[in-house]
């Protein structure tokens, strides 16, 4: 479901398309997330049955939905949920993945073996299925969705950090640092962690796109925040039965999800290209 990708090295050296438009769009999404009332005066859950299914107009820019709620307001406020779920899930995965990877890389031996095997088991379940299994225990809802999505992508981070930790810990400069008599804790936090986790922010950015898609997909299936929460995926699910008579109910949220993920992916790649250029 989630399409995460790291662009091949050569492509990274070339220009990623539309970075400025992407940055601008994400800025708008960020404003929508932080201060939705700046962008719209409408209440996203205020229904007005008499105003249901109105096409887009000067009054309702994106039209109104099956309950007469302003679709633009719902899309704007929806950013908060969709972004919150995506960012939190990736945050959980990045932090726990980094810690696990670091632990495995530093402790080695039995600890490494155990952690690696557990990661193998976790990643042997396809992403979405693992999330579904977790949700079938916890039930649907925003926080359950975040935890499930986050847990499912821990291995992605842990593997990279573990491998980098091996590289850094084995490199000469750690040996040197040790001869200078640095404390183990200082060594880890000051020297190993920054290098081992250097790629984590980039991985997280790339993972964010797929986390947003996954979150919207799960909400689409009815496992996201409860209604009437204006989450993009559930708006799509609600609107699809009205596509024939009121296309605007589902087309806008669909378009906004796509544009958001597109922008995140485009910028993530640009960042990755810059990073690898520096490293090369």
């Amino acid at each position: 479901m989630s399409v995460t990708l790291a662009l091949p090295a050569r492509a990274r050296q070339r220009r990623t398309p539309f970075p400025h438009a992407a940055a601008l769009f994400l800025l708008v999404v960020a404003i929508g997330t932080a201060w939705p009332q700046v962008l719209t005066a409408y209440d996203p859950i205020a229904a007005d049955p008499l105003q249901a299914q109105l096409p887009p107009s000067a009054v309702h820019w994106f039209g109104t939905d099956q309950l007469g709620r302003d679709v633009f307001a719902r899309v704007v406020y929806g950013a908060r949920y969709s972004m919150l779920i995506g960012v939190s899930a990736v945050g959980i995965a990045a932090v726990s993945g980094t810690l696990l990877g670091l632990a495995a890389g530093l402790l080695r031996g039995l600890a490494d073996e155990t952690i690696s095997r557990v990661l193998d088991v976790v990643s042997s379940f396809p992403d979405l299925l693992l999330v579904l299994v977790l949700i079938s225990f916890t039930g649907p809802g925003t926080s359950n969705l975040i935890v499930a999505l986050g847990a499912a992508s821990i291995p992605r981070f842990a593997r990279v950090v573990r491998a980098q930790t091996f590289v850094v810990a084995g490199s000469g400069f750690v040996e040197q640092a040790r001869t200078f008599g640095l404390h183990r804790a200082t060594l880890v936090t000051r020297h190993i962690l920054p290098h081992a986790a250097a790629r984590v922010p980039i991985l997280a950015t790339i993972g964010l796109g797929s986390a947003i898609i996954s979150a919207a997909g799960l909400s689409f299936l009815g496992m996201g925040p409860p209604r009437p929460t204006p989450e993009w995926g559930s708006m799509l699910a609600e609107g699809r039965n009205y596509l024939r008579v009121a296309w605007w109910i589902s087309v806008w949220p669909g378009l906004v999800i796509t544009l958001t993920v597109l922008s995140v992916n485009a910028l993530g790649r640009r960042w990755q290209a810059a990073f690898d250029g520096r490293q090369a």
């Binding site: 299914q53 309950l67 039965n241």
Partner: protein
């Protein structure tokens, strides 16, 4: 003397209260043969009709499973698998004489022992779970008087028993030894005009004609085997997809048409469209009288006054659903007291005044009313599995109304079946919305008997002693007039006085079909779509 023709006419008139019967008018001679594909919304939890509580699955299960008597539009009983029935003077003994020429599709004969087995096994909780404490629990003894006569004895008079006994789907005795007994399936033979041959979960259920069939009830349109050679029901849960499947010619008939799509088929020359109101309790919000703010009658009355049900129905269903007012369906010829109509007025001023007087005068930051710092919050618990007919949209519209008109926080919790059962058992919920279709006041008993006295669906947890007294008195008499009066009193008390529930709309079946398909109809009295026995298709040109 009512002839069969007038009966059929009556049935037709009742069957098409909204749709145009002309669309179905038979212009050509019925033709045997052909295959029909029908797209339906609801997939069965089980194919065993005795265990399946989903009314929407009955339209295909009825192709296979039949019962002792059929109903006429006015609520009368006519022979089907039984040729006649008698009720003893004190109403505690029922005797059914069975046809002697009926065979199940597995070759077994329908006899008195088979019928007795069906009723006695239903009393066993290991087989039927909670159903064993339903109406069948009133049955004290079932026995075969001879090969084709069955006698049921009750401990005491229970007026709705005939409705139950006459309508129980009779399974082949062979079913009870089958591993498919609980899930249902091709192994569970019935006597109907079709034989279940294939069920593919998520995809379709297919039936072929039963060539040996010749025991139609008097209400059927024709004698002998069904016209269609084969009928397949495809499961398409999204209403837009069903509509698209019909308009693009991939299926011949669809069931469950959204208000938005009805206009496509109504008055169309390519399609016919018909609806029939369901029987039983309307889709209503039942306020919990033993938990949370809805314990206060004033809050319940305020809720009923704060919601503009007409406007909500118009928005959600585009005017394609019928407003409900009472405790049973307007279509019920026996027990519906029409005087309840209009008794709940949309009156936000009254709602707000009631709440102010009840002490819910303060407002919190979000604009909701509070009392002693607690928000006026009512949680509607909805089982995810039973959401259909855009009810999720409807509930959201109610939620918006309660918030905007009276500052009441109506939250909706979609829960899985287990959680739902737990919440119901513990009584920790604000409201539950549901409808059900049993007839002969069994639906009223389900909703208003005390929880521990057979009120299986008593969502409002109402326990006023009047309710039990009226219901027991009504079930204890065979006089229809006396029963009508008692249920009418209960209706006034429950809806107008106590505001136990807010009736919303009467569910209905909508069927749209290509005009080449003829003979689709609804069951007299029970209203659900009739089996495919009378359906035939014009040869495609």
């Amino acid at each position: 003397m009512i002839t069969r023709r007038t009966l059929a006419g009556l049935a037709l008139a009742l069957a098409f209260p909204h749709g145009s019967p002309h669309a179905w008018a038979q212009t050509a001679q019925p033709r045997a043969g052909g295959k029909l594909v029908w797209a339906v919304e609801t997939e069965p939890t089980t194919l065993n009709p005795q265990l399946n509580g989903q009314d929407k699955t009955k339209l295909y299960l009825r192709n296979v499973y039949e019962s002792l008597l059929a109903r006429t539009a006015d609520g009368g009983y006519v022979p089907w698998l039984a040729t006649s029935h008698q009720v003893s003077g004190d109403g505690t003994a029922y005797t059914f004489t069975l046809r002697d020429d009926v065979t199940f599709s597995d070759g077994r004969r329908l006899d008195a022992d088979a019928v007795v087995l069906n009723f006695t096994r239903l009393k066993d909780p290991a087989y039927s779970g909670g159903i064993s404490v339903g109406p069948v629990a009133r049955l004290a003894q079932a026995r075969a008087l001879d090969a084709h006569t069955v006698e049921f004895k009750l401990d005491r008079l229970y007026a709705p028993f005939l409705d139950f006994a006459a309508s129980l789907e009779i399974l082949s005795p062979g079913a009870y030894g089958s591993p498919q007994l609980k899930s249902g399936g091709p192994d569970i033979a019935g006597t109907g005009p079709f034989i279940l041959v294939r069920y593919a979960r998520g995809q379709e259920i297919r039936f072929v004609r039963n060539p040996a069939y010749r025991w139609v009830p008097a209400t059927a349109g024709h004698q002998g085997p069904a016209y269609l050679e084969e009928v397949t029901y495809r499961f398409l849960p999204e209403s837009s997809v069903r509509t698209g499947a019909l308009t693009s010619g991939q299926v011949d008939v669809i069931e469950g048409v959204s208000g938005n799509d009805a206009g496509l088929f109504k008055g169309s020359t390519q399609f016919s469209y018909a609806t029939a109101l369901n029987t039983g309790t309307p889709y209503s919000l039942f306020w919990n009288t033993t938990y949370g703010p809805t314990q206060e009658p004033a809050v319940r009355r305020a809720l009923n006054a704060a919601i503009d049900v007409d406007a909500v129905l118009k928005a959600v269903y585009r005017g394609q659903r019928t407003r409900a007012w009472g405790i049973t369906s307007p279509i019920d010829p026996q027990f519906y007291d029409r005087s309840i109509e209009g008794s709940i007025a949309f009156d936000p001023q009254r709602a707000n005044r009631l709440l102010d007087e009840a002490g819910w005068a303060a407002r919190d930051a979000a604009g909701f009313r509070t009392k002693d710092g607690k928000r006026l919050s009512v949680e509607v618990v909805q089982a995810q599995a039973t959401v259909r007919d855009q009810r999720d949209v409807l509930l959201q519209a109610l939620q918006a109304q309660a918030r905007q008109n009276a500052g009441i926080d109506l939250t909706i919790a979609y829960v899985d079946t287990g959680t739902y059962a737990d919440r119901r058992a513990s009584g920790r919920f604000g409201a539950i919305a549901n409808s059900n279709t049993p007839t002969d006041a069994i639906d009223i008993e389900n909703h208003y008997l005390p929880l521990d006295r057979g009120g299986a669906l008593n969502y409002s947890r109402a326990a006023a002693p009047e309710l039990l007294a009226w219901l027991q008195e009504a079930a204890g008499t065979l006089d229809p007039k006396a029963r009508f009066d008692l249920y009418a009193r209960l209706q006034r008390f429950a809806i107008t006085d106590q505001a136990y529930a807010l009736p919303l709309y009467e569910p209905e079946d909508q069927v749209a079909a290509s005009t080449a398909v003829h003979g689709i109809g609804f069951r007299p009295f029970k209203q659900l779509p009739e089996s495919a026995h009378d359906i035939w298709i014009e040869p495609r040109t």
